[in-house]
């Protein structure tokens, strides 16, 4: 009785009209018939896709700055923040003449996200002081090979010609407003 949801069982016998079953069967048939013409709820997936929420947390992107240089400085804060320990990286020092490639003196020579470990919580994005990593409303493509889910820097990084729009994620007031 704690939840107040218990019900008293009533074993009442059926009346004669109920025991004929036919009115109940007829009502049931009408219900199923009405469903026959209802709009179907199925999303025909490969042809149709559902509209994602603007702040959907899917596949990550590594951003470049306005000049096309990589923003990431391999500080490792994202890897530390990651609760699933999905991010690993190797830092390297920028050589003279690489200024157009990397924004600051240190950069990530290797950067890898294990998409099978990642829980898409977005903590890496919040931890990043350089606005280098964002989650995007894209899905990690499926594959039969485990190796295909270890996304290296080359796959994560956006190209200069093909920028990934993350303005929707930036609109969240709590994150960037406080920072």
């Amino acid at each position: 009785m704690l939840t107040n949801r218990s019900k008293v069982v009533v074993n009442k016998t059926l009346t004669f009209s109920e025991s004929l079953y036919f009115p109940a069967i007829f009502r049931g048939l009408m219900i199923t018939m009405s469903h026959l013409f209802k709009r179907k709820v199925t999303v025909r997936y490969p042809e149709q896709t559902r509209v994602f929420s603007p702040v959907y947390r899917g596949l990550h992107v590594l951003k470049r700055d306005e000049k096309g240089a990589e923003r990431c400085t391999a500080c490792g804060l994202c890897a530390v923040a990651c609760p699933a320990e999905a991010i690993t990286m190797v830092a390297a020092e920028r050589e003279p003449g690489q200024e157009a490639l990397f924004r600051e003196e240190k950069y990530a020579a290797q950067y890898e996200i294990n998409m099978l470990r990642c829980i898409f919580c977005g903590l890496c994005e919040e931890a990043c002081p350089k606005e280098a990593i964002y989650l995007t409303p894209r899905l990690v493509p499926s594959s039969f090979k485990r190796e295909d889910f270890f996304w290296k820097k080359e796959r994560l990084l956006e190209t200069v010609e093909n920028r990934v729009d993350v303005s929707r994620r930036l609109m969240r007031p709590a994150q960037k407003g406080a920072a």
Partner: protein
């Protein structure tokens, strides 16, 4: 006189009827899945071909290429015999159905019926009852407790419902005065359908037909929640396919029988006032007959996705304490009305 024309005509008719039966049974599986989906606000199979129209072929191929495994402790001969009997018994019933009146081909009158038995109704009833042997033998030969339990259920259910069905048929033959299916159909000419004469008999018959074909409110032999897979727990590959397929053939045959016995078969109103040629009227009649069959099959599927399964004691109670007395009452009333 068995002339060549007669033999060829019957051979063509037999192959045509068999082919049509199998194709319709095949596409009933598709219709069932599609309608089930629609009743549940889904879209159903839609990947194999346009609208999933090739789905039954894909299912059949899958059954073909799967291993037909025979368990170590099963009786191997009976294990294979079970699904074969189910399939053969299901197909045999089509032999006496009058699909249409007759076609005039090269000066010969070709009746669209394989065999016009004067005891057609009895033949039909006997062949339909054979179907239970397929389930019994298969379930027993599996050497599996679930299969055996399901077999016991199936046989007792079929025996119980056959009685009511038989008595309903007696009332029908009382009012028509013949056991030949062709005559029963032609007596219903011009909208004098037997369902108006025998409404109670028809209701009893259709309920029993659901039970005989092991369809939804009475599908206790294969109720997966209690009996794993029922009598086909141990079956795989095309043998399982035969069992599942036989159910759909049975459904088609029951709908055909009901359309012929109670809904006028190939007769339709204003049949002769259209002023068409004999062959055209016959073909139209065949079309009308199939329309009636498909309507009844839709009803089978519709019921399946509406009504939950009976409890076993309720099933037996309905069979023995409700349907059988009702059928006897119906028979007596019919007999008295004919006497008066």
């Amino acid at each position: 006189m068995l002339d060549l024309f007669f033999i060829i005509q019957k051979l063509i008719l037999v192959s045509a009827v068999l082919a049509i039966t199998l194709v319709i049974a095949m596409y009933t599986t598709y219709a069932e899945r599609k309608l089930a989906a629609f009743f549940q606000d889904r879209v159903g199979p839609n990947r194999a071909g346009p609208f999933g129209i090739l789905q039954p072929l894909a299912d059949g191929l899958k059954f073909m290429f799967k291993e037909a495994f025979i368990p170590a402790n099963a009786n191997k001969f009976l294990f294979v015999l079970g699904p074969s009997i189910s399939m053969i018994a299901a197909c045999m019933a089509c032999g006496v159905i009058p699909w249409g009146s007759s076609l005039m081909i090269m000066g010969h009158e070709v009746p669209l019926q394989i065999a016009d038995l004067n005891v057609g109704v009895l033949y039909l009833f006997g062949v339909v009852s054979l179907g239970v042997y397929g389930i019994m033998i298969g379930g027993w030969a599996s050497n599996n407790k679930y299969a055996l339990l399901s077999t016991i259920r199936a046989s007792s259910q079929m025996i119980s419902y056959e009685i009511a069905m038989g008595i309903a048929l007696i009332a029908l033959t009382l009012s028509t005065g013949t056991l030949s299916l062709k005559e029963i159909v032609s007596l219903q000419h011009g909208g004098h359908w037997n369902v108006w004469v025998q409404p109670l008999g028809f209701i009893i018959f259709i309920i029993c037909a659901f039970a005989e074909t092991n369809r939804m409110p009475f599908d206790l032999p294969e109720c997966e929640t209690e009996l794993v897979g029922g009598y086909h727990t141990e079956y795989s590959g095309m043998q399982l396919g035969f069992y599942l397929f036989a159910e759909y053939i049975n459904m088609f045959v029951s709908s055909t029988v009901m359309a012929a016995l109670y809904f006028g078969g190939f007769n339709f109103p204003f049949l002769n006032s259209l002023g068409l040629s004999h062959n055209l009227v016959t073909l139209l009649g065949v079309g009308v007959f199939f329309a009636k069959i498909f309507a009844l099959m839709f009803f089978f599927i519709w019921i399946r996705w509406t009504i939950p399964r009976f409890r076993y004691d309720q099933l037996m109670r309905l069979g023995w304490k409700v349907l059988m007395p009702l059928a006897i009452f119906n028979m007596l009333v019919t007999a008295v009305l004919i006497l008066l």
